[in-house]
């Protein structure tokens, strides 16, 4: 490499190393804030040194060594602040030696393991879901608080405060920045997957704001999912979540019309689906299935894959979708899954099958005033030729929905019942 590297190029290198640097430093310092500061300090040194000396052969190790020296200085300063000078003189030497050893050990540690440790800590259940998402985007994704604020349509101050609080909570809880082992791993992993999927969904089905989708958040979540799948290749649900996100993201170009309105799955122009992402999604799904994937994410990915594989909406393999919903219901019981299951059964086995299943959930509290329920029931009745009843259901659904376009669509369906 040559001297005279631009700041831009150095910053690009730093972005690659940043998460791993913070992960290692956080494990040494037990403090995310300090770890971020030390990593940033190392960048500042690199920005002044590298244009003169050229980029070192192993920039990651260089940055780590630089940050490590500062970490030891910081620990030494802390001790001096805390204790009287004469008391610590002897203790200091051995303490610093100990720290240095600890640092060396950390450097020799499996890189992937440390990064995973940081991911598991940022997604720890002691933090709220919002805090986990913000902290993960900050320390793993490397987004600035401003970028996170814009993505979540929040103010920078709110996000900054959320991250500060999350870091304090981690410190108070005494988290060790390690990958949980044994029985704890499954529960903690569920929390990590939840955070990544939350970030993805915030982009895919934007809950607030003018845009229906915010692809940049989807991309960040995909990146996190790809990273996690690289670090934990043997976990079926990790592969399942990645598959689910890749396949769903493949529809982004077809999901909004020219006026920005949402286009439903059956109406989408499948020629605009991103074939590269579908292929990646199907590959991840195959890995999940080879690992025995039968969890919520692997099953949802399998469902998404049924649509991805169908050349047109009419070619959809509804019996397979119905069977997948039967299995999903067992591992992820929810009234919404039950409703989707009824729709899938109606498509696979006729409207009567759908009506039987939907009547089982008609009185569930969670679905009270939930427009899709009467809308689906109206559709089954319409297809069964029970037009008067169908009309009533469509009218109820049109009153319940808060979406103007959807209400218009449902009223049109009511009118079509004669």
């Amino acid at each position: 490499m040559t001297a005279g590297e631009t700041h831009q190029a150095i910053e690009a290198i730093f972005r690659i190393e940043r998460a791993r640097l913070i992960a290692r430093l956080a494990r040494i310092m037990r403090n995310v804030d300090r770890a971020e500061e030390l990593a940033q300090d190392a960048l500042v040194v690199a920005l002044s040194e590298w244009p003169k000396t050229g980029v070192p052969a192993n920039p990651g190790a260089w940055l780590m060594t630089t940050a490590k020296r500062r970490a030891i200085d910081a620990i030494r300063r802390d001790r001096i602040l805390r204790r009287k000078h004469d008391e610590i003189a002897q203790e200091l030497d051995s303490a610093v030696d100990g720290t240095a050893e600890e640092v060396e050990a950390a450097i020799n540690d499996e890189l992937g393991d440390e990064l995973l440790g940081l991911i598991f800590t940022a997604c720890h259940p002691v933090l709220s879901a919002d805090a986990r998402a913000a902290l993960t985007l900050r320390v793993i994704g490397g987004l600035t608080t401003d970028e996170i604020a814009r993505a979540f349509l929040s103010s920078e101050a709110t996000i900054a405060q959320r991250i500060v609080r999350a870091k304090k909570t981690i410190g108070k809880a005494g988290l060790r920045f390690e990958v949980p082992r044994g029985a704890e791993l499954a529960a903690r992993l569920a929390s990590v997957l939840e955070v990544i999927y939350l970030i993805f969904n915030e982009g895919y089905a934007a809950t607030a704001g003018d845009d229906l989708v915010r692809p940049s958040l989807c991309l960040e979540a995909q990146r996190l999912g790809r990273m996690l799948a690289g670090l934990m290749p043997q976990d079926a649900e990790v592969q399942g979540l990645l598959a689910l996100m890749e396949i769903q993201a493949s529809r982004l170009p077809a999901r909004t019309g020219p006026d920005g309105a949402l286009v439903t799955l059956t109406e989408q122009n499948r020629g605009r689906w991103d074939r590269l992402l579908i292929r990646r999604g199907l590959e991840a799904l195959a890995r999940a299935e080879a690992l025995g994937g039968d969890g919520p994410y692997a099953l949802q990915a399998a469902l998404a894959a049924c649509h991805a594989r169908a050349p047109s909406a009419a070619d959809t393999d509804w019996p397979r979708i119905a069977a997948l919903y039967d299995r999903l219901r067992a591992v992820m019981p929810s009234p919404v899954v039950d409703l989707n299951r009824a729709i899938a059964h109606s498509m696979a086995f006729g409207p009567e099958a759908g009506l039987r299943l939907i009547d089982e959930i008609a009185d569930v509290d969670a679905l009270r005033n939930y427009a899709p329920l009467p809308a689906a029931r109206g559709d089954f009745l319409f297809r069964a030729g029970r037009l008067a009843e169908a009309r009533t259901e469509f009218e109820v659904a049109a009153k319940l929905t808060r979406n103007v376009r959807e209400a218009a669509f449902l009223r049109a369906r009511a009118d079509a019942c004669g």
Binding site: Q8, A9, A12, R15, Q222, R223, L224, R226, P258, L276
Partner: protein, 137 residues
Amino acid sequence: MRVMVIVKATDDSEKGASVTREAFQAMEKFGEELIKAGIGVLAGAGLMNSSKGKRIAFDGANRTVIDGPFAETRELIAGFSIWEVKDIDEAVAWVKRSPNPMPGRSEIEIRPLGMMEEFEESVTPETKEIRYRLHEI
């Protein structure tokens, strides 16, 4: 953004020289690092040398098929890969870490894929509508 990472052909690759086991392992290791960093490797392949290739030359209504090999080695490519990255600087930083894809001197070129978003500034609601209808066909 997506970039195409293009490995340029060399005299060796055009002669069909096979990759050594060490070089192959180094490439595999690099690929693994990319995956662990969350870089989306969306597609990629090595290409057979140009003696197996064909060119179709266009001139007005005429189409002429030219059989390989092709002479201008520097203009040929030996392989490609499509990455999803944050920006081209990230792609550059990663390509610098790649092992040399060839035994001797070689070159890798990075080209951003042309996405509609890149031209968004020149898009009006009307052209957007036309574009959408074009895709419908």
